[in-house]
Symmetry: C3
Subunit: 350 residues, 3 copies
């Protein structure tokens, strides 16, 4: 597929400076794009490639536009313009509908005539698969699942019973949606399983990364609202609710019954304790532990940055003495205060 720069400018809402009839057929990075490719610049680190790129055109923000002698598409959100253009140039062919004969499908399942079921899938009783949905190879859908229009389970995805996936969702390999939550009652040392009776409900346009595990609710449902994006190896426990367009990076874990607002971001390996409320618009840094509810938007962090091991040894032993150190400082202050140094001490916050 090839498109003109005029067409790409229009579909991405960009201003074109250059030849509207110039055609490009694929995307490339600034340093190794060939003629016939379009590239982009979103980071200062790659600015030096701009002068010598062989790309037929470059997507960039206005601030950089004057530094390029070639065709440019100017957009204040060049990442977005790139996403739209790359999607237009690489749109895969719609796969042919149909059910592969190696798939094992319960006779009570309802599969739309435009859907596609790939080899070695197992699809349970009363499953409903919507128009244009694609169930990739070796997926398992337990009974009573529903898959919305145009959703794609890439391969090796497993859904527990009654899982509901909205429209245009993308579920990557190894993801498990709708396994039992971790619900246990203790009977004098012995654990007794609490039946996990809820479902997992995914809204529209949700993406779930490879090997992520989303548990069904204990009694009510686990819910991911429209536009939620999950990276790989994420744990979402039972009864969690995640608001619209919130994005979780890899290896994040959300404990049970926590409710996360909309438009939040969680960086990798962050962990959130159970039964908390996180407001809309909260950003959590990587490897950060959220142990209390957060009521105000903003960025929250507890990442401990790596240091040289010798420095770490010297300093981290002191963490165990912090309380004592604090008391010692208090004692020193008291001595000096008794001697009439209040004024000097009051200076400390300046």
């Amino acid at each position: 597929m090839s498109l003109t720069l005029a067409e790409l400018a229009q579909l991405s809402g960009s201003e074109l400076r250059g030849d509207p009839a110039c055609r490009v057929s694929s995307v490339g990075s600034l340093d190794d794009a060939e003629p016939g490719q379009i590239s982009f610049l979103t980071s200062r680190h790659f600015e030096h490639y701009l002068a010598r790129t062989r790309a037929s055109a470059v997507i960039l923000s206005r601030a950089w536009a004057d530094k390029s002698a070639g065709n440019v598409l100017i957009n204040e959100n060049p990442s977005l313009a790139y996403a739209l253009i790359a999607a237009a140039l690489t749109r895969p062919e719609k796969p042919a509908p149909g059910v592969h004969p190696s798939a094992v499908i319960d006779p009570s399942a309802e599969i739309d005539a435009t859907a596609r079921i790939e080899p070695n899938c197992t699809i349970g009783a009363r499953v409903r698969i919507g128009p244009d949905a694609v169930i990739g190879p070796n997926c398992v859908l337990a009974e009573d699942c529903e898959i919305g229009d145009g959703s794609h389970l890439v391969a090796s995805v497993t859904l527990g019973s009654r899982t509901r996936i909205g429209a245009r969702c993308l579920i990557h390999p190894g993801a498990v949606i709708g396994a039992d939550g971790f619900g246990l009652a203790n009977d004098g040392g012995r654990w007794v399983k609490i039946p996990q009776l809820g479902r997992v409900i995914l809204g529209d346009d949700v993406e779930v990364g490879a090997c992520s595990a989303l548990d069904r609710g204990a009694l009510k449902d686990t819910v991911l609202h429209d536009g939620v994006k999950l990276d790989n190896l994420i744990h979402v426990a039972h009864n969690v609710e995640i608001g619209e367009s919130t994005a979780l990076a890899a290896q994040v874990g959300i404990a049970g019954s926590t409710r996360i607002g909309a438009w939040c971001t969680f960086a990798g390996q962050a962990g959130v304790a159970g039964h908390l409320e996180i407001a809309n618009g909260v950003n959590i840094s990587g490897l950060t532990a959220v142990t209390r509810s957060i009521h105000e938007p903003g960025t929250y962090t507890s990442t401990v940055p790596a240091m040289e091991h010798a420095q770490w040894r010297k300093n981290f032993v002191r963490i165990r003495q912090l309380d004592e150190l604090s008391r010692r400082v208090k004692a020193l202050e008291k001595i000096l205060q008794n001697r009439g140094d209040e004024e000097s001490l009051a200076d400390r916050d300046k």
Copy 2:
């Protein structure tokens, strides 16, 4: 299925206050249960629903019993009573035994006549599957595995050769049990694989969460004793031993050869270094790093709680200066001591 409150009181060991003949057929949460459902109260947060629930009966502890005008089942462990009652009301039908024709089963495998093998499974040589066991769709059992009575591999579970699963175990989708441990010898910069020759042995009543990975021993076995419960995305390295009824929450990692006692709990994302001993009855908090053996029961923590990013920036830069700060305080104390302030300094611990 429906049961009377008298029956439910008996099976859960609860005291009934109300109508013994009242029948309930399912469970519901306090706020949206319907007549014909039984609910429960285990947290102060939901107490306000008690007065206006439409549930036919509520399971609760004695302290709350007087606040309900309706039928109540009184139990000092309402979570346990709920678990038993919910299980009784939702007991699934026993699935029909038999081997699905799409499963590929080595002729030397021994499958009990009452077991069930679902579609697209691959079962290796000399595997033995006990009575009433269920091997869900798309599971792989390598050669010489043994599955005990009534165990259930839900779907898409993979077992390495010689893995032994006890009775009544529940293994969730995506779990991998018996892959090679991470054993490497270094040959001048190049890694040489150390053959992983041990097994994974699971006792009875073990639960393994979605996408958890339990490695076979290097030479001896990796062992999880009876009643161990693992949540999702957990790593158990080679030669680990986990004692009876210990429970690990999601994303916990246990490094090689560590031995964990019985009745321990590990909260999410905790990590334990290799070759350690953890006593019985130890509780580890979330995102905590266990770097030394723990010989006494109790709770251990190193969670760094999230704070506002600006506050974090200001304070965390000081961690690198902790040792220096400690020395500065020491110097100040020395000066004042030299001046005869010992008495005041001795006050600091009061």
Copy 3:
């Protein structure tokens, strides 16, 4: 298979002290080896077993050789000697080549006549599988993948399109290689997917642990060089590059576009932020957050070691006050300095 000690000494580059004709047929641990087995000693913790082991021979370093009355193979790297000897004694039979009839293979795939494809696999268009490769049960290879000579996908492995696996790689169950990277552009709160067009390229002799997820590049490729070893549940984001013979322990996460050098080690649950450079020969401790590039070899740490919960409560509240505490110490120093105590303060670093 059995081999003489003379043969084992030769293949492992060890010095034999004892009977060269003595035959051993398997390996065992020092405490429970039987005659006919060979054992090893690599840790002081097991030294006391040396005197009473029943093993026919023991692999150990020279320092321990005099403490054994029996046959010994002396090697300054006994782990390596053990790895070589255990591999020689346990070498599995080469599995018979051939394609299982239950595998679904696109007619355009090219499968070497010496390769083996196990049951319930799904293999896409134009996939190329090299000599002696083994694709275990229930694997999925999307279109245009390449598998090098002698590589082994154990079972339930999923490869995204165009993934390239070198020679002699070992990929454990549940691993997902070549799923989409987590690339999103923000359009006023709504996420727009950035097409992920790169590949994952694995060199030769790479090992990937169970349930690890390696994402394809966004535009260029994600690359793991020869001899890279990954444990379980690891996340490697798009465009990451990992140098030769670097080893990552379980649950490590590497964010996008980070470049890691050769001969590095990462302990469990470490996390590395995106767009960083890590030099050759860097060792990262467990649960450590790498937030900046590292230009010098060495060990880097930010692990916070677990302590008793009460001690933690007392000390960790002070972390939020560290900056204030530091200012208070500064104020005290100033007071004393004004009084002419400079000399004493200068002592603090001694």
